[in-house]
């Protein structure tokens, strides 16, 4: 039990707490990954299969067969009862409760089968057309570019502006510092959702509506970023700065030669947070952008939602595609995040 709370010291045999831990982690993997796996598999399902109940894990489609004398492919059913029991037959048409079937080897003789006595023959098939449709239907690359541009530029601006402010707030004694800090925390409280309309009007007055900058600029100065970076920079010893000042380094040089490199872990954390926020942002871009050429992936994704119907197959495929880049960035940055959070959180 002591080991559970501290840590095991690498004994030979696994203690029961180890088993419990692995069971918990295994369950965690299931709970955290399972739903996402479900999402990915669903994105390969046809619209009909998506509506199917009970839902099935794998994407199934009903088998069809093309027979001479019929223009369209016919659906294949397995007959469970009656004279054709055990055979796979093709359905020509269905009238009320009776199905008109033909045997594939004898496509001209119609046999009537009650619909209760047949079941569809299905096989697993990936509906990759969900993905192909995306590229045919609209300018996917344009949306990808817009999203990438917004994410990258906004993150760069956020990192620069926030780290400068955090530097000032952590390493200088000046009148008004407390007020500025209170302001930062104050803004932390206000979710963007409640000021949408005023924010829209202000952004319009700057002529930024329907430009990518209208999405980038308003959210660039994140209070969370300032807060996070300042907490971290407080831990950098002042002696290093003083030594640099002795060497006649300018304050700006101290900022970018000393403070920035030393805060790298915290900056990595903010970077991933910012990338996530920007990439997934929906409500604000929806308001700031209404012209297709400026759309981000999230907006394009949601244009599959009409008034009455949602094109789920396309929407899910698009969702999976938009997930790929964040996951990739995360995989790349995750080492830094771990150490980054390690250093910010503890202090």
């Amino acid at each position: 039990m002591a080991n559970f709370i501290t840590r095991t010291r690498g004994r030979q045999r696994l203690h029961w707490t180890d088993w419990a831990s692995y069971a918990y982690l295994g369950f965690g993997v299931l709970l955290m990954f399972g739903p996402v796996l479900w999402l990915v598999l669903s994105s390969f399902k046809t619209e009909t299969e998506l509506q199917h109940y009970p839902p099935r894990l794998l994407p199934y489609v009903q088998q069809t067969v093309t027979l001479p004398g019929y223009d369209d492919p016919l659906l294949v059913f397995h007959v469970t009862q009656g004279p054709l029991a055990g055979q796979d037959v093709a359905q020509v048409r269905r009238i009320g409760l009776v199905s008109q079937m033909v045997r594939p080897d004898d496509p001209t003789t119609i046999v009537k089968v009650p619909i209760a006595d047949r079941e569809p023959v299905e096989h697993v098939a990936l509906a990759t057309s969900n993905y192909q449709k995306l590229f045919q239907r609209f300018n996917f690359l344009r949306f990808l570019w817009n999203s990438t541009f917004i994410t990258v530029v906004a993150t760069a601006i956020t990192l620069l502006v926030n780290s400068m402010a955090a530097f000032a707030l952590s390493k200088y004694e000046f009148r008004g510092r407390g007020t500025v800090m209170a302001m930062v925390i104050g803004t932390l409280m206000i979710p963007q959702t409640v000021v949408l309309v005023p924010l829209f009007l202000i952004t319009r007055d700057f002529g930024l509506i329907n430009t990518l900058w209208g999405v980038i600029i308003p959210g660039a100065a994140t209070p969370t970023g300032v807060f996070l970076l300042r907490q971290y920079m407080l831990t950098i010893p002042d002696e290093i700065l003083d030594a640099a000042r002795m060497d006649n380094a300018s304050e700006w040089k101290i900022y970018w030669r000393i403070i920035l490199p030393l805060s790298a872990p915290a900056i990595a954390v903010l970077a991933i947070l910012s990338i996530m926020w920007r990439w997934n942002d929906f409500l604000w871009p929806l308001i700031a952008l209404s012209q297709t050429e400026n759309f981000t992936l999230q907006l394009a994704l949601n244009s599959f939602r009409g008034e009455f119907t949602t094109d789920w197959a396309s929407l899910l495929a698009m969702t999976v595609l938009t997930l790929v880049p964040v996951v990739a960035v995360f995989a790349f940055l995750q080492k830094y995040i771990a150490t980054g959070i390690a250093s910010t959180g503890g202090k």
Binding site: M1, N3, F4, I5, R7, T8, D18, S21, L25, G28, M32, F33, V36, S42, Y53, P54, P55, V161, M164, A165, A168, Y172, E173, F174, V180, V184, T187, L188, M189, I190, T193, V194, V195, L196, V197, P198, I202, F206, P218, A221, P223, V226, Q231, R245, E251, W252, W256, M276, N280, Q298, T319, L323, V327, A331, I337, A338, I341, A342, T344, G345
Partner: protein, 322 residues
């Protein structure tokens, strides 16, 4: 990348040096703050001020100049209740339902999330095979957009969803999860924990790893009981991290909106309508748009948040000093 940044920084250095000579190193702080403050001022504070102006005006007009001044009527309407504990006795009953829901939501969500984050962090802090993998797994949902999170769980939990299909398969009675107010609320809390737990787990894990090992070794020498070690060593040393986690979780908890809105739409009835959703649907999505009422509600919520944060900061400070 660095090759690009270095000359850029050197160029900036020239005017900054001049500024430093002009202002002196101390007042240069304002130069560092300026870009952030300008953006803050324009896009965070100005909207709040405009919001106050909206709160004092009526009608469904969007532009301020078209809106008639109504004084504090929006505030009095919102606070007109026979009993604040009974939403049905209030003039604006949905707002108060949302307030009650949000209060419960925060208590449960912050409680469960911090609890499970701590448990997960403790387990990940053990000598575990493939720790990096498990850490990444628990962080993974944080990457998903709120809408996707809601979409996934809605598909699982709806009446004809995956969970019911599994229950049916094993012969258990199915439950209409999103139709029962208590279940729907419980699932909303769960979903929110699921989506955000990874972030807090990582922070807590970092806090745990920062605790020096020799402290534990000393405790083991004294043959202290495990619970005692946890209670007397781990928890106190983890306290600063816990405070950060609690402050952030609380603020984010009050601001919860997208994921629950996309998940249940606030239903059944108004069982999962949270206060930000009320503000959004009153002021932005509703018909007619009652901006005034929505702004007044947002100001009332902000005031509560400021008080809550002040209390927390006071606790933090006391903690830091003691």
């Amino acid at each position: 990348m660095l090759k690009l940044i270095t000359p850029l920084m050197q160029i900036v250095d020239v005017p900054m040096r001049a500024l430093q000579r002009l202002l002196g190193p101390r007042r240069l702080a304002w130069a560092f703050l300026a870009p952030n403050l300008i953006l803050f001022g324009l896009f965070a504070f100005l909207p709040v001020l405009v919001n106050i102006a909206y709160a004092l005006t009526g009608s469904d007009q969007i532009l301020l100049r078209d809106r008639p001044f109504v004084g504090v009527r929006n505030f009095t309407d919102l606070s007109q209740c026979a009993s604040y504990l009974d939403a049905n006795s209030c003039k604006i009953d949905v707002f108060w339902r949302a307030v009650h829901n949000t209060a419960w939501f925060i208590v449960l969500q912050v409680g469960f999330m911090v609890g499970f984050s701590l448990l997960t962090a403790l387990i990940l802090n053990r000598k575990i095979v493939a720790r990096g993998f498990f850490r990444a797994v628990f962080f993974f949902p944080v990457l998903l957009s709120p809408v996707v999170v809601a979409l996934i769980w809605k598909w699982i939990l709806q009446d004809q969803g995956a969970l019911n299909a599994v229950l049916e398969h094993f012969g258990y009675p199915t439950v209409n999860w999103l139709l029962n107010p208590s279940w729907a609320f419980g699932w909303a809390v769960f979903l929110s924990c699921w989506a955000h737990m990874g972030f807090y787990t990582l922070i807590l894990l970092a806090g745990l790893q920062a605790i020096p090992r020799d402290v534990y070794e000393a405790a083991q020498m004294d043959a202290a009981s495990p619970w005692r070690v946890f209670h007397r060593i781990t928890l106190p040393l983890l306290m600063p991290t816990m405070v950060v986690v609690l402050v952030l979780a609380l603020i984010k908890g009050v601001q919860t909106f997208d994921e629950v809105y996309a998940f249940t739409g606030g239903g059944p009835g108004s069982a999962t309508t949270l206060v930000i959703q009320y503000i959004y649907q009153t002021g932005f999505a509703g018909a007619p748009r009652l901006f005034g009422l929505a702004s007044a509600a947002s100001i009332m919520v902000a005031l509560v948040l400021v008080v809550l944060t002040a209390v927390q900061l006071w606790i933090t400070r006391r903690n830091a000093n003691g």
